[in-house]
């Protein structure tokens, strides 16, 4: 039984009508992952046709990056609705963090190959999907810009670090 319909009101999918959503359900693959499964590994290339972006339907995923000596990196746990690996799929650059299933996780994914096929055969849907991706990136940039601005202007790095540590950033 597919659980893709649980994502109907997700920000990424809200712009699509029911027919388009049904097409996306056929294009995106749903899988259940065991605890400890690594969906994305930091440093891996995202350029291959099997590279994918994921949307978590259910369960928790740990997201973390290597810490420089004495410094800090990203470390958080995300759940239902989280989008993983979107940036790598857009810009082909190596993955910036590792995403590992903390427990049993249900997620849907879209591979580069599937997107390329959508681009070839359903250009209207591909354009709409890119718009939704751009919107997601814009939201993320605004949120980080806001924090960076606060850090530079108000010098509140400690508060930002707390937000990172609480997994809110």
């Amino acid at each position: 039984m597919s659980r893709f319909s649980e994502l109907r009101n997700h920000d990424l999918f809200a712009p699509f009508d029911d027919d388009e959503f049904a097409t996306l359900e056929r294009v995106m693959v749903e899988r259940i992952y065991r605890p400890g499964h690594v969906l994305i590994r930091e440093g891996d290339s995202a350029a291959s046709m099997s590279s994918a972006m994921y949307v978590v339907v259910d369960g928790e995923v740990e997201v973390f990056s290597k810490r420089p000596e004495g410094g800090f990196g990203v470390s958080k746990t995300v759940g239902s609705g989280a989008i993983l690996g979107l940036v790598g799929l857009v810009d082909d650059k190596p993955r910036s963090a590792t995403c590992r299933a903390a427990g049993r996780v249900t997620a849907v994914h879209l591979t580069r190959a599937a997107f390329a096929e959508m681009y070839r055969s359903k250009i209207e849907l591909a354009a709409k999907f890119q718009f939704a991706v751009a919107r997601q990136l814009a939201t993320d940039i605004r949120s980080l810009d806001h924090m960076l601005r606060d850090a530079v202007i108000h010098g509140n790095e400690a508060a930002i670090r707390d937000r990172f540590d609480r997994g809110e950033a």
Binding site: P68, G70, G71, F72, G73, V74, L86, V87, V90, D91, K93, S96, Y119, I123, E124, A126, A127, K128, Q130, F131, V133, A134, R135, L137, A138, T139, D140, I141, R142, L144, D145, M147, L148, R149, A151, V152, I153, G155, E157, A158, I160, R161, F164, A169
Partner: protein, 174 residues
């Protein structure tokens, strides 16, 4: 404008497609000292600066903080094109400037009327946004790590301020 488009956000389009996109854009001429937009105002379009230069700045507790000078050939407002949210800085023309803009509504119409052109534009745009997201994220981590370093050693690393400011308002690489 077609030629500039093909080298930037329209990379990968045919000449006809770029020309068609230009017909959906608006041309603007603004005088020296005029604000293109102001911080916090709702902005709904992306601009291409064809000639002239602009200065981006912010008012911080009554002090004007210059973020950077935008030279010709740059796009600004990519995020506003997508989300129609508030402008993130005051942007003022230093001299007479000529710009082309594409409104959010025009992009939505383009997506429905000519999805192939929209798809190419959005592919290039999302690539720029992804690069910017990586830069901002790296800037934030670096900033907080610098802070930790200062706390630990009492030293200030030279250059952190200009690096951080540069990342705040770094335009696209295109």
């Amino acid at each position: 404008m077609e030629r500039e488009l093909l080298q930037t956000l329209g990379e990968g389009m045919t000449g006809d497609q770029a020309a068609s996109l230009v017909t959906r854009m608006e041309r603007h001429e603004i005088a020296a000292g005029t604000a293109l937009f102001r911080y916090g105002e709702t902005a709904d379009r992306v601009y291409y600066l064809q000639s002239g230069t602009l200065t981006a700045s912010l008012d911080v507790d009554g002090v004007r903080l210059e973020i950077g000078v935008v030279p010709p050939g740059h796009w600004l407002g990519e995020i506003n094109l997508i989300d129609e949210g508030p402008a993130s800085a005051d942007v003022i023309a230093n001299d007479e400037a000529v710009l082309y803009s594409l409104r959010h509504d025009a992009l939505v119409s383009l997506r429905d009327d000519d999805p192939e052109i929209a798809a190419i534009l959005l592919r290039n745009l999302t690539r720029d946004l992804a690069a910017r997201l990586r830069r901002t994220s790296a800037g934030l981590v670096e900033r907080v790590n610098d802070h930790q370093f200062r706390l630990a050693t009492g030293e200030v690393r030279r250059g952190w301020f200009s690096r951080a400011i540069g990342k705040l308002f770094s335009g696209g690489d295109r």
